[in-house]
């Protein structure tokens, strides 16, 4: 909770609580995500704007075997409850599957080690067409010097392949590992992005990922009905998630 307070202070307008599922361990059940309203009775207002911060739930699946992907295809009700789904492929084949067929919003790339596979252009292009973004974590770079070297070299090669369709993220265990959005955009410059791309990596791309998650939850992203306590409204979200921002439900 402390971490989130600092997030609000620094100016993030949306935060996702991550839940990691690693299939190497014994059979894991996808549990219902913790509802954000249970954690915070009232969400504070973002620094610098007048809107409240958004807390989303996110699921990260660490897949090292094709059978793990079946979970995504199943109609388990709990998966639908998460706002964003990310997958962390461990092999090249899985990377290919994740980019082309899996129904996810983000593909995580581990930049702290020498990657076991090279990125190839066709699956990356397909992922971009489908609206999937790639994610890299920058927290290891802050802590350790060897991590930093790996992070930068892997990040640069990633950027060259996926033409900047990246969203920079962090996994933080303590509030001190957090960095403000302006600083994260500056880190993007280190990773080889141009200024506009670096800013987008923190803002527009993340927003597009959120919208992608929304369209995934709704019926094929065409019609999205919301029942308000006062009246019933119908909203249409455009099929490509990165089009205009959705109107507030």
């Amino acid at each position: 909770q402390n971490i989130l307070t600092v997030c609000f202070l620094v100016g993030y307008s949306a935060v996702a609580l991550n839940h990691v599922i690693d299939f190497k361990e014994k059979k894991q059940e996808i549990i219902k995500p913790v509802s954000p309203s249970e954690l915070f009775p009232s969400l504070p207002i973002v620094q610098g704007t007048s809107k409240r911060i958004k807390v989303l739930t996110r699921l990260t699946l660490v897949v090292s075997d094709p059978s793990h992907c079946n979970l995504l295809r199943s109609t388990s009700a709990n998966i639908r409850l998460y706002d964003i789904i990310a997958v962390f492929p461990k092999t090249e084949k899985l990377f290919h599957i994740a980019c082309t067929t899996l129904d996810v919003d983000l593909v995580c790339i581990n930049v702290t080690e020498k990657l076991p596979f090279y990125f190839r252009r066709p699956p990356v292009n397909m992922a971009i067409d489908r609206g999937i973004y790639f994610e890299l974590l920058y927290t290891p770079a802050i802590k350790d010097s060897t991590m930093r070297r790996y992070t930068i070299s892997n990040a640069i090669s990633l950027m060259q392949i996926c033409k900047g369709k990246v969203s920079e993220n962090k996994v933080i265990k303590s509030p001190l590992e957090l960095r403000g959005p302006y600083d994260v955009a500056n880190l993007g410059l280190l990773f080889g992005l141009s200024e506009g791309e670096a800013k987008a990596a923190v803002s527009t791309n993340c927003r597009a990922t959120m919208l992608h998650g929304e369209t995934r939850k709704s019926a094929c992203g065409v019609v999205y009905t919301v029942k308000k306590p006062r009246k019933v409204e119908e909203e249409e979200t455009a099929v490509p998630a990165c089009k205009k921002a959705k109107t507030q439900a």
Partner: protein, 163 residues
Amino acid sequence: AALSRRYVLCEVVSEDPRCRQCIEDRALGLAVRDAITRVHGDYGLACCSISFTVKYLNAYTGTVLLRCRKDSYRLLCSALPFVRFLESRGQRYPCFLNTLHVGGTIRTCQKFLIQYNRTQLLRLLQNCTNEEERQCIQKSLLSCSLTEEQSQIRDEEDDDGTE
């Protein structure tokens, strides 16, 4: 102008309230230079040191204004996320720097800072429990202006101190 400079406005964010006490220009300058060396090496440090100073410090609000050459401000800005702690008088406090604004003159940074402090006060106003503190902050908010900014910034800080 031939000698163009950039002024980077940051905020020191820390969990430990004692960290604010060791916000002083030497400690901060050392921390930033150390981060630049780690990230950009000797070349980076040399480039950034040409016109590098800590221009303004505010221990109450944790605001810091750094100055550097226009040619090397990118090196400086990209190294700022790598500052992990401040050290002074033998004490080391973990913290991080949050970049608020980069401007070409001190005046633009000042304008931004006033605006920023105003929103900060508003935020503190929401968390006010005491009616007296509420009155105090409202008074400072209403009396914010650019012309007497030095004394105003000091007034706002005192309120932050009493929070």
